[in-house]
Each structure stands twice: as structure tokens, then as C-alpha cells.
Assembly symmetry: D2
Homo-oligomer: 295 residues x 4
């Protein structure tokens, strides 16, 4: 089995920067990060369609990444067990069958496909529109084990007028996209949850006087660069909260398909903290949303 995806609607005539794709996949794999797994994943992308001599054809771009080190034996004990904090049970309830091995859709490996698509989007945004998508993270404060964290993302260079009212709001599209990332548990724009403690006068970003409307701006950016669902020309700023990794290397009390609790020590290798690796995924989702809105 493999992970992969299909990009429909990507413009023609773009010369793909394969080194950038590889570099972004490297950020996701986080080889240099402390606490990341030693799992052998290959970052080799097989391009199946949509390219001719490395140039996009305008037709769907299909690609796949194959696992080179898929030790399914690690996962055998999970055949009849539902781990706490995982999607084993909900997949079983949804489909009546599930891929109990590591290659399932709830696997973090799935995010590699997002990073590939995101890399193409980021390249297009920068080259065609001068738009950058960057992020940083901070970890939570637990002293008792692995932790979660928050990824802050900033999109710069978006002109005013991107997004749509009511059900196509740019903030809503960003929220939906980011909340599809495994372990994402919260999303906020600009001042976010803190803004509930502000007065309306404090919150409303004051206009800065300029002679040229084209370069209009605000003194603060509490709204995160989006008003009424549409970009206002200021940097778009949002944060995504990630809960801690739920896999416990020293074993977990699982629910069996007979309704009993059973202790399981999984041999699979898993991250202690996925937040640093999440940055490139957060950026990828934002880049895809923005490119969709601009096309």
C-alpha cells in the first residue's frame, strides 16, 4: 500500500521544483528533530500523471509514495484491539472493517501526501503571486510526558479581496483544512480566544491613514487579516492547536472487540511529539486553500 493523491486543477506550464518537494518532505520527516521516530520512510515520490518533462500539463497530477519499511507484523495484535486515543474503534464502527496495520488512513503517514501537494502550491504561490506561507511552533507545559503544542502560521502577500461571504469564508476554509490534520484540536484567527476579553473598541483594528488606498492597512491585526470572510490585505494569521501523541510506548489498555480491556504493547515506532513536524503540514493545508481561492 501507498499514500498519494490527485491534484485537479493545477495550472499548466509550471516547472516543478522537485528539490523543494524533497526538502518539504524532509521537514515533515523531521530526521533532525529530537523526539521523532526512526521509522524508515522513503520520500521518493512516484509521479503518475499530469507532467511532461517535469512541467505540469494542466491535467490531474497523480502521485504516490511507497513505504519501504512496512513491518506489518508489528500491528498484528491490533487486529481485535481498539487503542485509547486512536481511531481504531471509530473506523470499525464506520466501516465494519479496517486496516489495522500502520498504513491505514488514520496513520500520520497520510500527511506525506499533503506535504507534496502543499509544496507544489507553495511554489506556485511564491512564483506567481509573491505569497509566502511560514509557521513556527510552541510546545505545551506538561512535565509528565510528551506534550502538545500550537503552530502559528502567517501568510504574507495576499491582496485584499480573496475569499467569499457566508459559506465560503476564507477563515472557515482555512479552519476546515487545518482541522483535518491528525491531532489538530483547535483553530483560531488573529487574537482568537483571547479576544473575548477585549472591548469592541480595542478589538476593531484601526485604519492607518495612507494617501494610496491600494496600500491601506490597519494598526493592529486582531482579526487575523480576514473580515467578513474576505482578506483585507494584512498578513493572514492563525494558530492550530495539537493534542499530545496518544500512543504510549510502554503499553496501552485497549478495548477488545469482545468489550474487554486488554493491555497491549505495540512494537510500532511512533513520535513522542509531532508538533515540530506539524509545521510543514499546517503550511501545506493553508497553501492549498489559498491557491484554490486564487485560481
Amino acid at each position: 500500500m501507498a499514500v498519494g493523491g490527485v491534484l485537479d486543477g493545477f495550472p499548466s506550464g509550471v516547472s516543478i521544483n522537485f528539490d523543494f518537494v524533497k526538502s518539504e518532505l524532509g521537514r515533515r520527516r523531521g530526521a533532525a528533530e529530537k523526539g521523532s521516530t526512526t521509522r524508515q520512510e522513503t520520500d521518493e515520490v512516484e509521479w503518475l500523471s499530469g507532467l511532461l518533462d517535469g512541467v505540469t500539463l494542466g491535467t490531474p497530477i497523480a502521485f504516490a509514495l511507497h513505504n519501504i519499511d512496512c513491518r506489518s507484523v508489528d500491528y498484528d495484535m491490533l487486529r481485535s484491539c481498539y487503542r485509547p486515543g486512536h481511531a481504531d474503534y471509530t473506523y470499525q464502527a464506520r466501516y465494519g472493517v479496517r486496516d489495522f496495520r500502520g498504513g491505514g488512513r488514520a496513520s500520520a503517514r497520510e500527511t506525506a501526501a499533503r506535504v507534496v501537494a502543499g509544496a507544489l502550491s507553495k511554489q506556485w504561490l511564491m512564483e506567481q503571486r509573491g505569497i509566502s506561507v511560514v509557521s513556527s511552533y510552541r510546545l505545551g507545559g506538561s512535565q509528565t510526558g510528551n506534550v502538545g503544542g500550537v503552530v502559528s502560521c502567517t501568510i504574507q502577500g495576499v491582496r485584499a479581496g480573496v475569499g467569499s461571504p457566508v459559506f465560503g469564508k476564507l477563515n472557515a476554509l482555512l479552519s476546515a483544512a487545518e482541522m483535518t490534520i491528525p491531532s489538530a484540536i483547535g483553530f483560531e484567527m488573529g487574537a482568537g480566544f483571547e479576544s473575548i476579553h477585549m472591548s469592541g473598541k480595542q478589538f476593531a483594528d484601526a485604519w492607518e491613514q495612507r494617501s494610496d488606498v491600494a496600500t491601506v492597512g490597519t494598526v493592529t491585526n486582531h482579526c487575523g487579516g480576514i473580515q467578513g470572510g474576505i482578506s483585507n490585505g494584512m498578513p493572514i494569521e492563525f494558530r492550530v492547536a495539537f493534542h499530545p501523541v496518544t500512543t504510549q510506548p510502554d503499553g496501552m489498555d485497549c478495548l477488545t472487540d469482545k468489550g474487554e480491556i486488554q493491555r497491549v504493547v505495540s512494537g510500532g515506532r511512533h513520535d513522542l511529539c509531532q508538533v515540530p513536524r506539524a509545521c510543514v503540514i499546517v503550511e501545506a493545508m493553508a497553501a492549498m486553500v489559498l491557491m484554490d481561492c486564487l485560481l
Copy 2:
């Protein structure tokens, strides 16, 4: 002009509870709430299609709500002014033209249509699936003017197995729907942003042993009832943060279409705090998302 909407795919044979629709619209209008406007809005719904003798036909249900007190004169000074904290400027940038009167799509009046649709969804969820959607709110702590707040919403009675992996995650759908509400600025599931300070062991909701798998449950509900994008049978719990009302009754420094700052005192009537009224809208959006997933 009017607000309204079209519900496509609503099941046939449902006898609409018009009193419940009226009652939900009353919650939104918040006549009894302190700080709400005295604006005369009619809650009379004109049903345009999809019903026969009050029973749904399975075909699209179109409806409209007309304003009875539309004093457009109040808004004339907004023709060439962009208020801070409003969508005047972004609409202008997006479309090159905008409805500067109060009836625009960025108006809170738009949410009346959501409430009508939500009332129909809530009726169906309760009668056909025994699912309830309830919410409560808390306000922020500013002492200097109007404030924002957080609406907590709980959906009870959803069986395990609702939602889809990857891009159709139930939490992502809920997040997108809630973030389309005017003034919504943050969304979180279960333990939300607080969960970043927990260890993985703390966060992972432990299974409760039961003899019957059908009634499986967890001791805590940090994930908010959704795992891997799919409901796990526990209550679905989320929160939506709303920023404070940005309209200042004593005037605002607006940006004119000539790039200058001009003080404007708007005669329109506006809420001091919209959070109490937001509850019924938060519930409406959740109900629609859930009904969509169940159909």
C-alpha cells in the same frame, strides 16, 4: 431585499413544527436579552417551495424573511466609508461594488436564515434519531465596554461511526460551519487549546469496560467525541469563540474611498453583545452538519 435560503435534500414526509421555528427565531432575536437591539425584525417566514400542507416534499425547501423596518437612510453615510472591524472594505475589494445598506450579506440579519434551516434540522435529528443539540455561553472579562464570549455546544445521541476520514472529518466540517458565523474567531473540540499542556497518557480517553460493545464509552472525553474524524458514541463537545461587537455607537474613525480617515456616527441600531444570541446559531450550524452526515 430579504434573507432566505434553499434546503436541498431535506427528507420528504416531515411535518414541519412551525412553532418551533418561530421559537428558535425568537431566541436569535433575543428580545428579552439585555444589550440586544430594539430593531424591528419580523420573524415571519415565507415558505416558497418544498412543502404541501406543511409537510416536506423531499424537493428543495426555499424560504425568505422580509424586513419590515428597513430604514436605509441610516446607512447613507456608509456609501463611501469603510468602518473599522467591519467587512465594508473587503467586500469592496472583492466585488468592486457592495450593498452599503444594512441588508448586506455581512449583516447579522443573514443569520436568521441559518436559524430557520437549523430549526428544521434539529426537529429531524430529535424526532428521527433522538439527537439533541444544546449550548450555553460565557462572556469575556473586559470592563471597558462590550465583550466577546465563548459558546459551548454539546450534541448528544450520536452513534459511533458518523463522519469520514481525511478531508471529510466531522470535526473539520463542524469547524468550517461554525467559523462561517459572523464574529466567530476560534473553534476547539473537547479539551481544545488546554490539551497542549497534557501528557499523552492524560489526554487519551481511557475505555470503560462494558459487557456490551454497543454501549462502549470512555471515562473522560478530551477528544470531544470524535476520533480520526469519526464520532465515537460519546457526546460531541466543542466551543466557538466570538470577538466583541465592533460597532461603536458613539462613532468610528472610518476609512473613506479616498484613503482618508473620517469620523462617522452611524444611526443604525446594533447589539452591544451578540454572544447570547449566537447560541441558537451555533446549534443551527451543528445540526445542519450532523444531518448532512447522517443522510
Copy 3:
């Protein structure tokens, strides 16, 4: 009840030509046509949203047409009867309930909404892109009663390169749109069904030599202006076949909901031949498809 619709995505800043809308509705009503009904339908359009002083705002344009002469008594006998050649039985099977009066969605009255939307699209196509959509008809040859016919439609002014390969083919989109018209029973591009008798050499439209590629053309137009799902710059030509009107003014042997055959003489007024009136609807659907592809 009313018919109506919502146009989402219509560009902003278009000054609607209401006289043209009225004129197109008049073509549909076909007051001057021999064999058309004397039914009193109003062509008054109520514009519910999306316009300011007759100019489009870029936001959804909702509109409704109300019936002024809805004599529902005519239809009472249809409550438990399924007419031959009508959708009474299939609606009942689909929804378990149906609007047995004349206002149901299978009513030809529904097409008035298509004409309104089509008029806006045609105005935009002509003014913004210089594209015209025209049609003519021929009737079938039956001597024993009302007949069906074929509407031939030509779209001129479409540049090469409009449409998409595989599942977004322009011919497929046109076919789908036209086949949704009540009584449409066949669709063909260019040489259509006749082309099966041609050799490949005859069918393949030969290029005409030109010095300027921009004005490239073909000697014949057997493919109807679309190749591989994409326009080639020649006129787009297709035909839609309509079966005869199935309502018999002197009575019909209906199936009752008890499984018996019962003769019913309906007092409702119906066309003897709808083909002349269908022209404006065929054009409307084509205009909407094309505008969608160009936006």
C-alpha cells in the same frame, strides 16, 4: 407556491437588462404561438437578493415568480391517480409524497426559472465575450395529434480552449444540462447520429490553411465545435430532441394508488406542442453551461 432560483457566482457590476429578461420570458410563454395554452402565468420576477439598484453585487441572486392563476381545484382528481407519460408515479415512488397540484417540480412552469437565469447569462456572454446563443426548431411528422420536434442550437464566438478533458467535457456538460429540460429525450453534437454512416476520413473536419493560427478553422464542422471535450473555435452546434406532449385533453387512462386503471379528464390547461417554447429554454441551459466554463 412559486418557482425561482438562486444564481451563485454571477459576476458583480453587471447592470441587469430587465427588459431582456421579460422578453425571454415572453418567448417561453409563447403567447403568440399556435397550440400554446391560455394559462395565465405572470412573468413578474421578484428579485430577492444580489442586486443593488439593478446592478449585480457578486453575491447570490435569488428570485421568484409567483403564479397568479393557480386553480388547484383542477388537480384534485390527480391526488390518487398516476397519469401515463407523466412523473406522478415516479415522484410518489421517490418521495412517498408529492405535490399533485400543477405547481410540482415536474411542471413545465419550473422552466420559467431557467429562462430568467439564462437571460442573465446570455446578456453577460454577449456583452462581456461577444458570444451569441441562438436556436431554431423543426417539428416531427405525425398526422395523428400533437408532435415532438428537434431544437437546433448554435453558439457563436467561443474561442478555442473552453472545456476540460475526461469528466468535464464541454459536450458532456451541455448534454447533461439540456437533458434536464422536461420532455428532452435525445441530444447530439454536430453530425450526431448521422455520423455513424460516415467514414473516418469524411468525418474528420479538415483544417483550413490560414496564415494566422488565431483564426484557424475547419472546412466542415462534423464534431460540432468540440474536440476532446474542449472547444476548437468553430461554432458549437448541437440538437435536442423533445418527445410529444403526453397530456391528452380528452382524458387519460390513469393508474390509481390501488393498482387499478381509471379514466381521468383533467381540467388543467396544457400545451399541444411545447417545441417552439422549448427554444428559449435550450438556449438558457447552453448559456449557463458556457458561462460556468468561462468564469
Copy 4:
């Protein structure tokens, strides 16, 4: 490069009949058919996701078919030439770049992916709903070369009530799907274009009296089993017209990208008549549409 696809929404728990997939691909390749090419195509399907031990997981099923005999040298002369009756020119106009080799999206090879998806749909329809999809063909009458033809398709076992009114009509969905097949140039339901010569009384399919409404039927089936966009329980019958193959083995007068006419003899191998091979593709598209409507 490869052809392939992704099936989203296919039910879980289906044990794929790989022999049937292979058999359907064999029908498409038409090895035994007179006039078919000797091109070496492999029918080996690489399943990339969505299966566990040959059983569907409910998650997207991705698959690819690789070419084993891709002699791109044959196509080099097509780099700057647009063949008559082909999509070379329109692809170039649409995207500004195109895959001039045989593997482009306008290649008939693309239909192999449709056949794979159709085979899965047909298996599900038969096993889960007892629905069969069969077809036959007749060729046109040209004596001067290769010819086109008509494929007649019949779907049996569909209960009354499948499909939706107005824009979701089952006949429109079928038409759209079939018209996406390369070389399809016409579509008709039931009596089709011939029905224009009938009177309304002749055309309207008379009910057959039965004691049990559940087995209601009509004496004739001029409407092709669909009324008002919804199935009526009779067999669904439609026909698809295919124009003749436009590739001429003895050379074609092509348009060059300089606007000149140039004779090109293509070394690629192509069918003389694709109609017999089209049957399995027509069935595949119908099966997918029907399965979509039933899920």
C-alpha cells in the same frame, strides 16, 4: 506514465472479484475483435489503496495501469502538428502545453480506468441489488472506410424511485456520463429522436393493470424507464452514438503550430473501428452513475 483513478465512497466489506475486472478489461482490449489494434497493453491493475486482502475498506480505492509498450518515438512528429479530428489543437489552446505522446488524456487508453471502476460497480449492483447492465452494438453503413455505430444499453432490476428532479435527473446523469466517452457524439433515451414523429397518445406509455402496485408496469417503454428524471421500474434503455475513428493509417493533413498544412503518417497503432470495444465502456459509465444514485 500510467492511467488510473480513485473511487471515493465505494462501500466497505466488498470482496473484489479480480477475475471479473480482468475479464472486463479483456472486453475493452478486444483482442478477438476484427479491426482492433495489436497494441501491447497490459491489463495488470496495481491497487494502491482502499483494499485489505482483496476486501474494500470503505476508503478511497486508488489504482493504476501501466503501459508496457510505450514507444514514444512514434509520436515525435506530433510535437508541432495538430491532427484533424483529434484533440491536439484544443488541448494546446486550453493548456498552452500538451502531452503529444500517446499517453495523453485524450488517448483511448484512458478508458481502461473507466472499465476497472465500472467492473467494481457492476459487481456491487448485481450482488447487492440484483441489477444488470448489458449492451449490444450496430455499426453504421459506410462503404468507404471505417465506420461509427450505436451502442444500445439496458439496465434491468432498478426499482421505481431512483434519481432526482430538475438538475439531478437520472437521464441527464446518464447522458453526461456517456458523452464523456471518447468519440461519443449522441445520446437518446427510449424512443429517442424517433419519438418526434409520434403523437402524444402513442408516446405516453400506457399502464398495465396489476393487482399489486409494487409490480406496476407499462405496455411500451418509449420513455426508456425514466419519467421526470426518476426511474419508473421498467428497464432503463438508452443508446449512445459513436462517430468513426478519425485516425487515417495512410496519413493525415495536419495543421502545424505555424498555421500551415503538413501531411503526417503516424506510426502509432490505432483501431479501425472502436464501437465493439465501446460496449464495456458504455456499461461501465452507466453502472457508476446508477451506483452513485443508489448509495
